[in-house]
């Protein structure tokens, strides 16, 4: 990015730069074998390595949701509806949003810090001097990997949360397994609930990865600069995830 654009500051100019950055990345998509290899490698590093934390969190979220739901529903004698309440809220909101927030903290920060450090140690400059476009080689694979990973991680989060809910409701609270599953089957819809949530997570994936690579790429090449960029990634992506969640929900519901 030229000097005249980096001199502009403020959120508006930064958003513009961020969109230009996105356009530059997208124009670099080639489907070449080296690009595919590097996207797969990053999907492993960013996505597969986030699996454990996502699964553990999903399991406990499922348990705590069921605990609260059963407590509330018992007052109306409706505790057999627990699976409906838990799974619907998971598929529609909590799954995509919580996974995206966890993903921003786990993978977004590491991408920003990695790219920022590469910049601080002149590796980005070395690439430019070798006539290699760092936006295509460094930023694009990480962006695409984030875009692919988050919907998959969200599905995994949902699955583990249901498991947590089953363990708590049926195993601990002794609810009837048949009722639990039949209510779920009756009231939760694949397209409306599950797929709708996955679409959301695709948007969150793009958002978090774009912010992570952009902040890394534009970080000041100093220790403090990389630190600030990493913090900004978490703060900005968390806020935007919630803002976009509201916008998407209000449009599509």
């Amino acid at each position: 990015m030229g000097d005249h654009t980096t001199r502009l500051t403020g959120p508006v100019a930064q958003s513009g730069q961020c969109l230009l950055f996105l356009a530059k990345m997208i124009s670099g998509i080639r489907f070449s074998s080296s690009q595919v290899r590097s996207v797969l490698q990053q999907t492993y590093l960013i996505g597969a390595r986030s699996l454990v934390i996502i699964m553990i969190c999903g399991f406990f979220v499922g348990m705590v949701l069921s605990l609260q739901a059963i407590n509330a529903l018992e007052q109306f004698g409706a505790s057999d509806q627990v699976s409906l309440l838990v799974v619907k809220s998971l598929f529609r909101e909590l799954g995509p949003v919580l996974t995206a927030l966890l993903f921003a903290g786990r993978a977004g920060t590491s991408v920003t810090a990695e790219i920022g450090l590469m910049k601080a140690t002149n590796q980005i400059e070395a690439m430019e001097l070798m006539a290699i476009d760092p936006i295509q080689v460094i930023a694009l694979p990480r962006f695409l990997a984030g875009l692919i990973s988050l919907p998959l991680l969200t599905a995994m989060f949902n699955a583990l949360a249901i498991l947590g809910s089953v363990v708590f409701s049926i195993g601990v609270m002794d609810l009837d397994a048949g009722i639990y599953w039949s209510k779920l089957q009756e009231g939760v819809y694949f397209h409306k609930d599950f797929v709708g949530g996955i679409w959301k997570s695709l948007v969150f994936g793009g958002l978090v990865s774009l912010i992570a690579v952009f902040f890394g790429y534009t970080a000041k090449p100093t220790g403090a600069g990389v630190g600030t960029a990493t913090t900004n990634t978490v703060v900005v992506s968390s806020v935007l995830i919630l803002v976009f969640d509201f916008i998407m929900t209000s449009f599509f519901t």
Binding site: T121, N122, Q123, E125, A126, E128, L129, A131, I132
Partner: protein
């Protein structure tokens, strides 16, 4: 060096002016760098030596003046033209700037993978030839953090020459190296330059290391060329800035304090 090679100009710079904010970093620099030579830009820290390298490689655009490399006008190139142009330039940055998450082999192979379609066995052979040329055959599977400073610099050197560039730019290539590593890198620079017929530009502030290597020196002070010539000639120069720099004197025209417009130091003048 053959006389025929020396007479051809590889890089021609005319009336170069570069400003950063209100500070003029370079003011009216002109020079002709001959093909096949090793030229040093010397001068105190922060004087704009690295800026000239960045102007030649097209990372920065001059405010005035022109830079011509093998007849191509670098100062007016579009991004696409620059991208193409840089394949002919090898750059060794101050700390080597190896890619820390790639092995030594992959570091050297990166430019080849990006710019050629060589089959893997040939690519492997080419990388090994370059690695052997810098005396480091057998370390291809190591990671950059496992290398000493001198080894890392030599790997970066192998990476810089792997596409057989026509021009090599070195930014402080010997900083932080022990004396043996300094001699090794110096020999490599000279041999590569002469065997491949390159033109090399070295930015440095180390007078003794350079006088044994380069053919021609430019001393840059106060945004201008304070002196130029072969190193042995510059050692005898009576020009105050050149004499101050070459002999490391504190007294002289090169100021101790950083000069900014409007500092209180102006009151003392």
């Amino acid at each position: 060096m053959e006389q025929a090679q020396i007479n051809k100009t590889a890089i021609r710079i005319r009336d170069l002016v570069f400003r950063r904010g209100r500070n003029t970093i370079l003011d009216g620099i002109s020079m002709d760098i001959q093909q096949g030579s090793i030229v040093a830009f010397m001068g105190p820290s922060g004087v704009g030596k690295t800026t000239i390298l960045r102007l030649i490689s097209g990372q920065l655009k001059p405010d005035e003046g022109t830079i011509e490399v093998y007849g191509q006008m670098v100062s007016g190139m579009s991004d696409r033209e620059l991208h193409h142009f840089r394949r002919n330039i090898g750059v060794l940055l101050q700390d080597g700037a190896l890619f820390t998450d790639l092995t030594v082999f992959e570091n050297i192979a990166t430019p080849l993978r990006e710019h050629t379609d060589l089959p893997e066995p040939l690519l492997r052979r080419l990388v090994m030839v370059k690695l052997n040329a810098v005396g480091l055959g057998g370390i291809e599977d190591l990671m950059p953090h496992e290398l000493s400073g001198g080894m890392a610099r030599r790997v970066a050197f192998a990476r810089a020459v792997v596409l057989d560039p026509r021009i090599m730019l070195y930014d402080e290539p010997m900083t932080g190296l022990d004396p043996i590593a300094v001699s090794t890198v110096r020999t490599l620079m000279r041999e590569t330059n002469d065997t491949l017929g390159l033109t090399s530009i070295v930015v440095t502030h180390n007078v003794t290391q350079m006088s044994q290597l380069v053919d021609y020196c430019y001393i840059i002070a106060s945004a201008k060329i304070a002196g130029e010539g072969p190193p042995e000639q510059l050692n005898l120069s009576t020009e105050p800035s050149v004499d101050q720099f070459m002999n490391g004197k504190m007294e002289g025209p090169i100021p101790f304090h950083y000069q900014t417009p409007g500092t209180p130091w102006g009151l003392l003048d």
